[in-house]
């Protein structure tokens, strides 16, 4: 059985490590670093599913280089990712993930406020802890998804009436709702249907959505005017809140059809989990990724006055070294192939050294990410960067046995290989002489 667990793209290594550990403890996989567990990035899963939707439901084979923007509309946030499509269905991330706190829970909270306003304090606290509230929650979910700007909503208020002392029908509740005019726009236009139902005017519901919809539409419009995102031809709505017809309408109203097509898959709420499943079948479907940070190794070099900081000088006998130098491997924003393996060699500092520690650091340091920066003072066009500088964090370290000191330093090179393009990051160090090998699946980097 191959397991796939989705994780937010913006999670740091902690969350990913946590999920891997939990999956192991829950017996999904036999050991912590098992390849039977893949962590999948949520926006990528969405992109995979959207590609399939385009092909199967819309009969569109995207042209090479076409971009699709994915709005993952969840409970807490709306996360926006942009991927490049090709006719063969291979995607890469085109633009950093962004978004904001515009999730459906804010809409839920606004509706809850309305309910609360219809009840007395004591009544509400009894209702809040009851199974009637669960019932209301389910009703609200359906209303929230189906609502669009012109609908009058029929709301069954019997869950509330079970807890109101002086009111037992919708008609008796109505004066309380009308009294909310001013606080809730359109409250005075509420009417009654049957014994237990209220007819809520559209404005009242629009008010519930008002905390998030304008923010989402404004953000999408802003993104679509960026030159870099000119090739975006499709905007997909996924996630639970992506089910909302009102959100779909609001986006269609601000994004002209000829600029980009707003597509809501048949089942936005389960698009990601379906995409994750496809990812499990073919993890290489995402051909390359953009690294979110600069990664590199801490190393030493011969000390060079002027190029290196005096306080980083280390004297060993007649030799002078500079320590804590940052040797960059991949730079922030760089595209790395999913199956790309990078390789470098390192040598021991001393003839007497029997083991070495390869330390891998991550940073958002500007200089470290500069293409002109090299660890070699003769090649670099930037000042030296040290891992002890602020903003560097140790991702992992590998301890390598170098063998007997009888052999020459040059014979005890350590080959370090790293793969940054997968959803988790793999590093392996091998000493050719001793065969000593260390491999770590770092929970995560991109």
């Amino acid at each position: 059985m191959q397991w796939v667990l989705t994780v937010p793209a913006i999670w740091d290594s902690y969350g990913k490590h946590f999920m891997r550990t939990a999956a192991h403890k829950a017996q999904l996989v036999p050991h912590h670093d098992s390849s039977r567990l893949l962590l999948a990035l949520e926006p990528e899963c969405a992109a995979i599913e959207c590609y399939e939707t385009l092909k199967s439901a819309h009969n569109i084979t995207p042209q090479d280089g076409t971009m699709c923007m994915i709005l993952d509309c969840g409970g807490g946030t709306v996360d926006i990712a942009t991927h490049v499509l090709s006719s063969s269905g291979v995607y890469k991330e085109a633009f950093p993930v962004n978004g904001g706190p515009w999730g459906s829970t804010y809409v839920d909270a606004a509706f809850e406020e309305l309910i609360r306003a219809m009840m007395e304090e004591g009544e509400y606290s009894a209702y809040a802890g009851s199974s009637e509230k669960v019932q209301m929650k389910l009703t609200w979910e359906r209303i929230k998804c189906a609502f669009h700007a012109a609908t009058t909503v029929t709301l069954d208020v019997s869950p509330l009436l079970a807890h109101t002392e002086t009111v037992s029908t919708a008609a008796e509740l109505l004066p309380r709702v009308h009294a909310l005019a001013g606080r809730f726009e359109g409250a005075e236009q509420t009417s009654v249907k049957g014994k237990y139902q209220l007819l809520l005017p559209p404005q009242l519901l629009v008010g519930c959505f008002a905390r998030v919809i304008p923010q989402i539409t404004a953000h999408v419009v802003r993104l679509l005017t960026q030159e870099e995102l000119e090739p975006v031809k499709y905007v997909f709505l996924v996630g639970g809140f992506g089910e909302s017809a009102f959100l779909h309408e609001a986006l269609k109203a601000v994004v002209p059809q000829e600029r980009a097509q707003i597509i809501r898959p048949a089942r936005p709420g389960i698009a990601i989990v379906r995409g994750a499943c496809r990812f499990g079948v073919n993890p290489m479907v995402i051909a390359s990724r953009r690294v979110l940070k600069t990664y590199g190794v801490s190393c030493k070099l011969e000390f060079l006055a002027g190029a290196h900081r005096e306080d980083k000088k280390e004297v060993k006998g007649s030799e002078h070294f500079v320590t804590d130098l940052f040797d960059p491997w991949v730079r922030q924003g760089q595209q790395v192939g999913a199956d790309q393996v990078l390789c470098k060699y390192y040598l021991p500092t001393h003839a007497s050294q029997e083991s070495a520690i390869i330390q891998i650091y991550a940073t958002s340091n500007r200089t470290a990410a500069d293409p002109g920066y090299h660890v070699d003072p003769t090649l670099t066009s930037c000042p030296a960067v040290y891992v002890s500088d602020p903003g560097f964090s140790l991702v992992c370290e590998l301890d390598i046995f170098l063998g007997s000191t009888a052999s020459a330093v040059a014979d005890r090179a350590v080959e370090v290989r790293m793969a940054f393009g997968f959803t988790e990051f793999v590093v392996e160090a091998t000493c050719s002489r001793t065969g000593s090998k260390r491999k770590v699946t770092c929970n995560y980097v991109l």
Partner: protein
């Protein structure tokens, strides 16, 4: 490139608000995806609220709407009902144990709660797969690791051309595995072994 030879894939979307899973059979060229149904009292084909009820001892009781209903229907609310779990995992750092706070104020390690949820999803998924595959048995214990997913097992990569005494060569794209590395050396210097030996993250012997 990963070579998955597995007949089944199960994907779990453990969401902030809702959780669901999907599984796929790879039968020839017509893969089909099935989405979780009724993970905890929810309408079929929809994700289930990420809400869980554990006993006072921390054992799994119910998930989703079932958990909420069971909790509020109980006379005393003594059991542990958890919601909004995933937010705890944003921007956390190593070095402390994150806790989950139940509605009645009791705290449990977040790991225990998330493990209980994933365990429930696992049971549910295996049962669903078993039901839909009449006549074929599915192992309910974790399969042993097969040497799949070669992307996680790095293959040897010949060193790029290197000049002596020039520190680290530029990272090179590794061509597909071919000959083992012939040794040219870069005269780069690693850390002498002056630091503590072990690291919690470094796994030994793999």
């Amino acid at each position: 490139m990963p070579q998955l030879s597995l007949s089944q894939v199960v994907a779990v979307d453990f969401g902030t608000a809702r959780t669901g899973y999907a599984y796929q059979y790879k039968k020839g060229n017509t893969p089909e995806i099935f989405v979780s149904e009724g993970l905890g009292g929810t309408i079929a084909g929809h994700k289930t609220p990420t809400e869980v009820l554990l006993s006072e001892q921390g054992d799994f009781r119910a998930f989703g709407d079932d958990a909420r209903t069971a909790y509020y229907n109980a006379p005393d609310q003594a059991e542990l009902f958890f919601t909004n779990l995933k937010m705890e995992l944003y921007g956390r750092e190593d070095g402390h144990v994150p806790m989950a706070r139940a509605h009645n104020g009791t705290e449990l390690p977040l790991m225990k709660v998330v493990t209980a949820i994933l365990g429930h999803v696992r049971e549910h998924a295996l049962e669903a797969i078993n039901k839909s595959r009449v006549g074929e048995s599915v192992r309910s214990t974790p399969a042993r690791d097969a040497p799949a997913l070669a992307s996680c097992a790095l293959t040897p990569c010949p060193p790029s051309q290197t000049s002596p005494l020039v520190p680290p060569c530029a990272p090179t794209v590794c061509p597909p595995p071919s000959a083992p590395p012939t040794h040219t050396h870069t005269h780069t210097l690693t850390h002498p072994h002056t630091r503590r030996r072990s690291s919690s993250r470094a796994c030994s012997g793999c």
